[in-house]
Structure formats: structure tokens, C-alpha cells
């Protein structure tokens, strides 16, 4: 194998974890973290799993650490919120085998419901956090993280952002260091935290002091002396942007952003005229710097950071340049020529389209959830009233029902995907049954985790390595929860879907409608023969009803809609809507 490879940050993390000799890796898919587990699954000597959610992933991987193995858990930024209950206790209990927690943050919310700066979780939990700035560092920092974890008996955060996770750069491989797990040690005074935790409380503060000293000589906190006019303090991808903009400046590049090396910061600030703190999102470094009281001989306020940068969205070389020099970004031409936006759309033949067409028609109030089906909020469906976070839709619906049961109860629908249902939809459904609600839930079972690119989940009967396993039977599961009214429909059958919805909404008890059809992007679905449809111009009355299914294979910009032969998958939803029989399968 060529020693130099072009790897994404996520691929490099997987390689680094393998080189570090890990035994167990767990995660739940979430952009931009997903490819870490997918790539780890390629190494046969690691036990890798997609877990049911991030807390479960955390607990399983942590259990492996307690058993003496190096282990890793991977999640996106909001995944840490799900795992936080467990995470906050682990500084008390420490580790046995090295334990690394990956948080992949998403500045700019490219594929997330919110923007949150998970550097604060390191400070909050009082555990160290490393931040790589390219793929080579991503690989090396994983290994260093395991060493630190074992040296200080502490879980270690490795933080990436979308741009480090998903950009590719050159990586040189090294040999793996594979050792068997250490022997398990029975040690309840360390691991049964609620009883003995008080005694361990001071350990956390002592460890923090030691790690602060460690940070002073940690080789990945690097100073690059150049011109003394500008000194840039930065970490992660911002280092790359700042290097692009200030090639002649001095740099303090922090490989570890918590805890910070106070003496090193003082020394660096002492040596430069003006300090720029270049960081994405919140003023995390800047606030700590100011709290440390780091002085600069040219004036204590000679520091620029969030006074010139926004704390929102991703930075870029353009934004960094613009912030300090006033020039930079070249504007797009949309003030001279109209450039319409291109929002993401559901795929041609997406099974969710059928459900949303029906819900729109029935004028229901729909609480949504996280997945491809969140796109139901956009025209032509305009079908979603809410979408907050994984599993929230069902509880939100029940809360609405509590306030306006008489009116809304018959119009309330919570939609949730199969993967999300298993992640965090079961508990709120139990809540509805337990507390005598009547809300209707639509389980949009497309047989995969569609949003993040088809990862396996417990309903699919396949593991991350595509080995066969038990597949959850949703009807039985939901029945065991106590839901009596369960109906399964094919969302391509618009009439049956509408009938099932009306029936469920008319009941005075909880109901679940399972909309079952596989995602059209699954390989086995794509491999099926497709017979595309066409619009017969002479029969078309230009009523545009076919556009109400929101299919991107149909171009509605002209009077007579046009179906792209290459993109149509022959689902026939548009043909079913046409009252003039003007949409027909193309004769072969």
C-alpha cells in the first residue's frame, strides 16, 4: 500500500484508532461523524457496532474500557447531549483501558438542527479535549488521546468540526500497536459512583491541576515564531484558515484546547505586538485567556477575537481575512442577475412523499422528527409543524393534545422514522399509552437510516458488517407497549394511506400507522428495473396537480410538466394524481 493516502478526517480517525490498538468502537450515525464507525468496521480485529443511540453507545464503549480494553465512542455534537448523563459521571470513575469520546461539531448547521460549541463540555465535565486541524493530525491525535486517557485515568474528548471531518488531506500511515486488553479489576469503590463518588470528588480537581501542567509541555501545543507584529492563537481548522491569511504571523497552535497551558500563553502573548484569537463559534479560548489575565506588554487589551468575528456559522479564509483587513469576500452576482436558491428535495419516488401528500390533504397538525422526512416541511407539502431533535416529535404531539384534546386530538399526527423511533421514539410512545393519550403516530419505516446514508439499525436485521441479526418486529413491539390500533400501509397506495390515517384519527385511543416502503436509494431498490413515466402533452390540462407530490424528476417550470426519463423511477405517484390520464408509463 502506498504510504501516502488522501483521507478524510473521519477516515483518518478510524485509521488512528486502529493504530492505537482499540478493541471496541460504538456510535450512532450523525453527520459529520458517521464515517468514523463505517471505516472502523473495515478492521476485522475491532468489535464495532452501531448502537441504538449515543447514550447506549457511550455506555457500551465505556464498559469495554472498564473491562480493560482501549475503546472509542463516536457521535455528532447533539449526540453528546444524549450521552451527557453518562459522560458527566465518568470523570469520577475514570477509565481502565483508554477511552476516547469523539464529538463531531457542525458549525454552520450543514446537517443539524442547531449549532453548539462542544468545547464547553470539556470544561463542564473537566476532561481534556484535543482538536486536530487536518487528517494527519486527526490520525495522530487519536493515538495521543488514548495515551493521555490512560496516563490521567480520564476519558478524553477528540473534537472535530464538519470541515476537519469531511475534508481530505494527505496522511502517512504508521504501524499498529496491538496489545490484548488488560485484565478486568473488580473495583466498586472506583466504579460505583453514587456511593463512593464523594471521596473521588477531589481527584477531579487534582487531576485538572496535573493536566494543566501537562498542557505546558504537550508537544501538540506549538509555537511558530515568525513576525512579532501579529500573534495568532488558534486551533483546529481555524489554524488552516489563519495560516492562509497571515503567512508571516507568529502562531500558537493549540492541539489541546482544554485545559490550557497558562505559562505558554503568557510567554507567547509577551512576545507579540497584537494578539488575534481565531476560533469558530463561541469565544471559548478568548474567554479563558481573559480569565487567565494574560497580559501583553503593548497593552492588556491588545487582543482581537469575537469583537471582529461572528460567533455564528463556519469561518473560512474569506471571513478571517475580512475580519482583520476589511477586504476579502468577493460578492456573488445575485444583485445583477436573479440566482434562485436550490433547496434540498426528497428523492424521486421517495416513500415519504405519499404520506405527506395525504397529511397535507387531511390538514393535520404534524409534529416531526430528525431525518430525510423533515423535508416534508417544505413546499409542496408544507406538512410539518415542528421538528426539534431526535425523538421529540411524539412527546411534542402528546403535549399539544393535553392542551387542545377536543379539537387537536383528532388532527394530531407525530411522524418518526424507523431508526429514530428505535433511537428515542419508544419511550414517548409508552408515555402516550401510559397517560391515556389519543395521539396518532406515523412510523415512516423505510428500512434504513436514510438521512445519514443507509446505516444499519436494529430494525434491519443486519449489523454494521452486514451480518444477519434479529430484526425488530415493529408491530409486536408497539403492541407490547399497549397500542391496540396498528395499521401497516404502502405509502405508494395513496387511497389506503388516506383511509388508514382517517381511521386512526377518528379513534379515541392511541394509534400507530406504519408506512412501510424501502428507501429508493438502497442498492437493492436501485437494482430493480424501473419503467419511467411521461406526460402526454395533448392530454395534459396544465392543472399542475402532479407537482403536488414534490417529485424532483418533474420539471414544472413550463406549462406542461416534463418528467426526466433518467431520473424517474416509475413510482407512478404522479400518474395516480392525474385526473386526465395524461401521465403514462413510457412504452418500451
Amino acid at each position: 500500500m502506498n504510504s501516502k493516502q488522501l483521507l478524510s478526517g473521519n477516515e483518518a480517525i478510524a485509521r488512528g484508532a486502529w493504530e492505537a490498538g482499540i478493541h471496541v468502537a460504538c456510535g450512532y450515525p450523525g453527520t459529520p461523524s458517521t464515517e468514523i464507525i463505517e471505516n472502523l468496521a473495515r478492521y476485522d480485529d475491532i468489535d464495532v457496532e452501531w448502537s441504538t443511540n449515543e447514550k447506549v453507545a457511550f455506555d457500551v464503549a465505556y464498559g469495554a474500557s472498564l473491562a480493560g480494553a482501549r475503546s472509542l465512542v463516536s457521535m455528532k455534537h447533539v449526540g453528546v447531549n444524549v450521552a451527557l448523563d453518562s459522560l458527566m459521571v465518568t470523570p469520577f470513575s475514570g477509565v481502565h483501558g483508554g477511552f476516547v469520546v469523539i464529538t463531531a461539531d457542525d458549525p454552520g448547521m450543514h446537517s443539524s438542527q442547531n449549532e453548539q460549541d462542544n468545547r464547553f463540555f470539556a470544561k463542564f465535565a473537566k476532561i481534556p479535549m484535543l482538536e486536530p486541524s487536518d487528517s494527519q493530525e486527526a490520525k495522530e491525535f487519536v493515538k495521543i488521546a488514548f495515551d493521555i486517557s490512560e496516563q490521567f485515568d480520564v476519558p478524553v474528548f477528540l473534537r472535530t468540526t464538519t470541515r476537519t471531518s469531511h475534508s481530505k488531506s494527505v496522511v502517512e500511515f504508521s504501524e499498529a500497536k496491538r496489545t490484548p486488553p488488560q485484565k478486568y479489576k473488580h473495583d466498586p469503590q472506583k466504579y460505583v459512583v453514587p456511593i463512593w463518588g464523594k471521596r473521588r470528588r477531589q481527584n477531579i480537581e487534582m487531576r485538572l491541576k496535573k493536566m494543566e501542567e501537562f498542557a505546558e509541555t504537550f508537544p501538540e501545543n506549538k509555537i511558530e515564531w515568525n513576525s512579532k507584529k501579529i500573534g495568532v492563537i488558534t486551533s483546529g481548522i481555524c489554524y488552516q484558515y489563519a495560516k492562509e491569511v497571515f503567512p508571516d504571523a507568529s502562531f500558537l497552535k493549540l492541539g489541546m484546547i482544554f485545559p490550557l497551558p497558562k505559562k505558554m500563553l503568557e510567554w507567547f502573548c509577551d512576545g507579540v505586538e497584537k494578539i488575534y484569537v481565531v476560533e469558530e463559534l463561541e469565544p471559548f479560548l478568548e474567554e479563558q485567556l481573559r480569565l487567565l489575565g494574560v497580559k501583553n506588554p503593548f497593552g492588556s487589551l491588545n487582543l482581537s477575537g469575537k469583537d471582529v468575528f461572528t460567533n455564528m456559522f463556519e469561518l473560512s479564509p474569506d471571513i478571517v481575512q475580512h475580519a482583520f483587513s476589511g477586504n476579502g469576500e468577493k460578492k456573488s452576482f445575485d444583485n445583477e442577475i436573479a440566482i434562485p436558491p436550490r433547496p434540498p428535495v426528497m428523492c424521486p419516488g421517495c416513500p415519504h412523499s405519499g404520506v405527506y401528500f395525504v397529511l397535507h390533504k387531511l390538514k393535520t397538525v404534524v409534529t416531526g422528527d430528525i431525518g430525510c422526512y423533515t423535508l416534508g416541511a417544505l413546499p409542496p407539502f408544507n406538512a410539518l409543524d415542528t421538528t426539534l431533535c431526535m425523538g421529540a416529535g411524539i412527546g411534542n404531539a402528546f403535549g399539544m393534545e393535553k392542551v387542545h384534546r377536543a379539537t387537536m386530538g383528532k388532527k394530531l399526527v407525530a411522524v418518526i422514522g424507523d431508526s429514530t423511533f428505535l433511537h428515542s421514539g419508544i419511550a414517548p410512545l409508552i408515555d402516550i399509552v401510559f397517560n391515556k393519550g389519543i395521539t396518532t403516530v406515523v412510523l415512516m419505516d423505510n428500512s434504513t437510516t436514510g438521512m445519514t446514508g443507509h446505516q444499519q439499525h436494529p430494525g434491519m436485521g443486519k449489523t454494521v458488517r452486514l451480518e444477519n441479526t434479529y430484526a425488530i418486529n415493529y408491530e409486536q413491539l408497539i403492541s407490547a407497549i399497549g397500542v391496540k390500533h396498528i395499521r401497516v400501509v404502502d405509502p405508494y397506495d395513496l387511497e389506503a394511506t388516506e383511509t388508514a390515517m382517517k381511521e386512526a384519527l377518528a379513534l379515541n385511543e392511541p394509534a400507530v400507522v406504519i408506512s412501510r416502503r424501502a428507501c429508493v436509494l438502497l442498492e437493492e431498490e436501485k437494482a430493480k428495473t424501473h419503467y419511467p413515466y411521461e406526460v402526454l402533452g395533448e392530454l395534459c390540462e396544465e392543472c399542475d396537480l402532479c407537482l403536488k407530490i414534490g417529485c424532483p424528476a418533474i420539471d414544472g417550470s413550463q406549462a406542461v410538466p416534463f418528467i426526466s426519463k433518467e431520473r424517474c423511477i416509475g413510482c407512478d405517484l404522479c400518474a395516480k394524481l392525474c385526473n386526465f390520464d395524461a401521465i403514462r408509463m413510457i412504452e418500451n
Binding site: 446537517s111 475534508s167 460578492k331 436558491p341 433547496p343 434540498p344 428535495v345
Partner: protein, 202 residues
């Protein structure tokens, strides 16, 4: 080893699902094959498909940011015309813009229909860019497989990168299914011929 220039910033644009990620990957690999430092990244929205997608590829002796600055891109290759217009301000003055002759109307975000901008080629030419429209889909269909369209575009772009053919051939051999390799090598050659016209102007 080939380092007869200081590298290039290339931007690929299009609609999610068109194959931008594969052609930018091939480009990045061809650059690494020449021993350049290389960085590549994608910027896209929530959906796998249908949204506006760009991919930056940068190669030089040393590359820091994976994202190019606006006004610094040497070549923009867009698989769809409107997307070429959307990202054209990234291209440097006098830079090259290659547009696949394909128009895909965006789905509207309101109930109003979308007006697809007219005269994109003329507009961009008037800004001083070196614009070329390439009828890749019909050329590929004439070859017997419309899926080779992206390789025709890649070939048209390759001549402007300064990367020698041997590196392109090597990465195509390494990364494409052997069944479609011959077709793609032909498509690449066909694309290269198209770019002679632009080269003589540039």
C-alpha cells in the same frame, strides 16, 4: 514528478446526486499522484440529493485551507448551468469556467414557480471569464452511455490543471470499475480535445 507550476484551486459545482464527489475525488487523487500537497472538501446541505453542492480541490507545494477564497479559483467546473452562476464569484479574474449544458430547475421554496436565469453563458463571459459550454450528455449518449458525461467534462478540465495525462490515467485505472474503464478513457480523451479551443484563448 511534475511541478511546472505552483498548483491550482479548482471548484466543482452542481446538484446533489450528479457525481460531483467522484470527479473531485479523481482530481484530488491525480494531484496527489504528482506528489503535490492536496486538500479537498465538500460543502452541501441537509439532503444527499437535489440541493446545491460544491467541492473544493486545492493542490500546491503546501496547502493550508481546504476551502478556496472567493476570487482565487483557477477553474470552475459546473455540472449544471445555474450552479455555475451561483459559484462563479469564486473564480479569479480571467479564470476558466466550464459549464455542462444542463439546466435543472430548482424546486421552489414557495408556491411560486422558479424563473431559471437566462443567458448565463453571456453573463459570465461579460464578466471577463473564459467560459465554455460543453454538451457532455449528448456527446456521451452518442458514445453509447450518457453516464460517461462527467468524464468528458473531467477531460475538458484536465488540460487546464497542468497535471500530466499519465496521472489521470493511473487514477482512473485505480478507481473506476474495469468494465467501464475503456469507455471512460475514451470520454476523457474526447473532453481533452474540447479544451484546445479554450487553451488557445487563455
Amino acid at each position: 514528478m511534475m511541478k511546472n507550476n505552483i498548483g491550482k484551486n479548482i471548484l466543482f459545482a452542481g446538484v446533489g446526486g450528479q457525481g460531483i464527489l467522484l470527479i473531485s475525488e479523481l482530481t484530488a487523487r491525480a494531484a496527489i499522484h504528482t506528489d503535490f500537497d492536496v486538500k479537498k472538501t465538500e460543502v452541501h446541505g441537509a439532503a444527499q440529493r437535489g440541493g446545491s453542492v460544491v467541492s473544493h480541490v486545492r493542490f500546491a507545494e503546501k496547502v493550508y485551507s481546504p476551502i478556496s477564497k472567493t476570487g482565487e479559483v483557477d477553474i470552475l467546473l459546473s455540472l449544471e448551468k445555474l450552479e455555475g452562476l451561483r459559484w462563479a464569484h469564486y473564480v479569479k479574474d480571467g479564470g476558466i469556467i466550464l459549464l455542462n449544458n444542463e439546466e435543472r430547475s430548482p424546486q421552489p421554496m414557495t408556491e411560486k414557480k422558479v424563473e431559471y436565469p437566462q443567458n448565463i453563458e453571456e453573463f459570465l463571459s461579460s464578466k471577463g471569464y473564459n467560459v465554455q459550454i460543453i454538451d457532455a450528455v449528448s456527446m456521451a449518449s452518442a458514445m453509447g452511455n450518457y453516464r460517461a458525461a462527467n468524464t468528458i467534462l473531467l477531460g475538458a478540465m484536465a488540460s487546464h490543471t497542468g497535471i500530466d495525462d499519465e496521472h489521470w490515467f493511473a487514477v482512473m485505472k485505480e478507481n473506476l470499475n474495469p468494465k467501464i474503464l475503456e469507455l471512460n478513457l475514451q470520454a476523457f480523451e474526447m473532453g481533452k480535445k474540447l479544451s484546445q479551443k479554450v487553451l488557445s484563448v487563455a
